[in-house]
Symmetry: C2
Subunit: 429 residues, 2 copies
């Protein structure tokens, strides 16, 4: 490890402090937890000058280091983004509190009364990249659900994150709340991530949020349970029985509306029966929006025969079917059947969001039943896989694994349960 023993100890001390704070949080009532949110909201707003000053330094460093404009943009905080942050905190306060909810309760023949009760995890670690708003969002969702949080953000945002966390801790302290419930790991060496995700007994859950490399590294090295998030190689399949106007609108929306996010479509599959009718028109619509097409041979043949302009159409390589472009690029493939579409998704998909466009109810139901993904869509855009679009009012990320949470994670997904068993002296016979 490149970290010194002192640095490792410091991180473990933070995790331990978070654990202690989590015990206090867990037994606060929902009103008190909302007071904690109110306290961090007030403190962030009161300290916004210091926060924006720290952020200005981060942004200047990123620009000086030649970071891409899109990365610099994600790093920027300003008065308007601070206002959005406040609005987001207000929304979280208004959400129903899952903690203490009794999922189920029953009495056994011997008289034992068993309740399955929602409880916080304890300490949730969030490993993320450069967006400082994640610092506040993650802390708010954790506090709302009675969890402490250990934050390990990207080093480009370190000064911003430190200012945000200092404000939140001060706010919690002023309100008489366990301020150590929000911890920021300031060591920026990559090994500091390992200390966090291997702190069994202190960290109850780790959620990596970021690119595929970050997530793979966390999964590889973690000893604490992990929820994988975010990698989305999503498909839209246009069936032989599709309404082609609807199909075009869905493909354009899924690809173009916000190409940089995980629920954007990366591959279009078209049934051969509608390839000639659909491909030229969708190619035109995509070209108008600056989308490059990576086409299978049959797609190339159809588009060539249709005589359209093909500047933005190139042959697909095998790797294209597995690529999450996060950009204005779409792989396009003609398939012979619904089965072939499902097999393609099975082979190349990342189990995130998959859509079929069809007016054939049997085809729709087969697709919805057989495709293995967090969210499967009939006649709608993949872009709806999102905690807000689903109506959860919040989102800690989109899980692409099957354990615990799948798809958008709202507040209930940030809790676990325990069995509370009340007896009158029962022993086992």
């Amino acid at each position: 490890m490149a970290l010194s023993a002192e640095q490792v100890d410091a991180i473990l001390r933070q995790a331990r402090a978070a654990k202690v704070a989590s015990r206090a949080l867990a037994v606060l009532g929902p009103d008190r937890r909302n007071e904690a949110l109110r306290a961090i909201m007030d403190a962030l707003w009161a300290d916004r000058a210091a926060i924006l000053a720290a952020n200005t330094e981060d942004v200047a460093s990123a620009r000086a280091a030649g970071e891409a404009a899109s990365r610099v943009d994600r790093l920027i905080l300003n008065e308007r983004r601070m206002e959005q942050m406040m609005e987001s905190l207000r929304q979280v306060m208004e959400l129903p509190d899952p903690v203490g909810h009794v999922d189920a309760a029953w009495t056994r023949p011997g008289g034992l009364r068993i309740e399955r009760v929602r409880v916080p995890f304890g300490v949730i670690a969030i490993i993320y990249e450069s967006r400082p708003n994640v610092t506040v969002d993650a802390a708010a969702l954790a506090l709302k659900t009675g969890n402490a949080v250990v934050l390990r953000g990207g080093k480009e945002a370190l000064r911003s994150n430190a200012a945000l966390v200092a404000a939140m801790q001060a706010g919690l302290a002023r309100a008489g709340m366990p301020e150590k419930a929000v911890q920021l790991v300031t060591a920026t060496d990559r090994d500091s991530v390992d200390v966090v995700i291997r702190a069994k007994g202190l960290v109850d859950l780790a959620i990596p949020r970021g690119g595929a490399g970050l997530i793979a590294r966390v999964v590889e090295r973690a000893l604490v349970p992990v929820i994988e998030t975010g990698v989305g190689n999503c498909h839209v399949y246009v069936d032989r029985a599709a309404d082609l106007d609807m199909a075009e609108a869905i493909v354009i929306n899924a690809k173009v509306q916000r190409p940089s996010v995980c629920n954007a479509a990366e591959t279009l599959l078209v049934h051969q029966a509608v390839a000639e009718a659909f491909l030229p028109r969708v190619a035109r619509a995509l070209a108008e929006r600056g989308v490059e097409i990576r086409a299978c041979p049959r797609t190339l043949a159809v588009l060539g025969a249709a005589g359209g302009r093909m500047e933005r159409v190139v042959p697909a390589a095998e790797a294209d079917w597995d690529t999450e472009y996060l950009d204005l690029i779409l792989a396009v493939r003609v398939v012979d059947s619904l089965d072939e579409a499902i097999a393609h998704i099975e082979r190349h998909g990342t189990r995130h969001s998959e859509a079929i466009v069809t007016d054939d109810p049997a085809a729709a139901e087969a697709f919805l039943a057989r495709v293995d993904a967090a969210a499967v869509y009939h006649n709608a855009s993949t872009r709806f896989t999102d905690g807000f679009e689903f109506g959860f009012g919040a989102e800690m990320g989109i899980s692409t694994q099957k354990l615990h949470a799948r798809g958008p994670m709202g507040l209930p997904e940030l809790t676990t349960y325990k069995y509370v068993v009340r007896g009158t002296g029962q022993v086992r016979g």
Copy 2:
């Protein structure tokens, strides 16, 4: 790796075959899945002579290798145990089927209809030690929930497991079911476990069942999601307001009724206000049942002053508070308060099962709320943490982690969910 490339390939081929079979299983209806259980039940019974012959060889090898009698006993199959296996399969068939259950359904303002539907994981890997009945139990619970299963049992039971799996596969094939849904990894090198638990994309969930060493190794090396099971350092806390007759009965039951299992108690905590009244009588009752006491200094003092015989009482070392004896040994400690009891459990417990004995409702509720464990008990034995005792009718293990499942895992815990979204052309604005 000590495995040859061919061996690794063979295991991955098995996992892939299981994945393909899981797709077929997932779309069978509940009646058809029960037919699969009926098919393996009939085949196991028909092939029992071959199974028992294979088991006789395993048992002879284990005896020749000088295995402990308790380990040999766990390995043994006989006609009676085969009958129990059949009865257990019948019970699983009768359980309600969680697959396809709609947990929640709602319509968004834009008209999207969202359903959260229970679906199988796909392929579940079970890593276990020497009990061949686990082979059949795990396969049955997996098939019932639409999952394929990759079994990696202990090498002592290899011949038994091979015979059991051959029978089950033959039964599935005769019934026209995907027989590759049940796979046994026959390489007994420890590295073969690694191949299974690192097969991302093929194995959806790994459940280690066995000793602490096995579980730690799986957690350390797995890339697929894991549910940790079974390690239980469980406590009974006898409060100042306890009914001492009830307390004695619960302590004896929790320690003695079956000491080798994870929900047996390993440490007794006694409030100082009742130490003089309770410790001598419980020590006597424990001694009568052959239980050795590892006592804290205050416990030693109380027992010494009470003038009882102390052959089976020895001073506790610090390590005793962290030891899962799985034997007729009990650590005993006097605490000053409920808070000290909770702090002790927080520090030394494994979040499995924890009990308070008290007639004080406030103490009981504080303990139930503040102790972080899969199951918390008021006035009942820790021995009830069990899928059958909870009324689940089945159990795949007892989870000691917080992600996905906590405590006894029944059929619903062997499923995940997906969001099925039906639209009429919705796109995101």
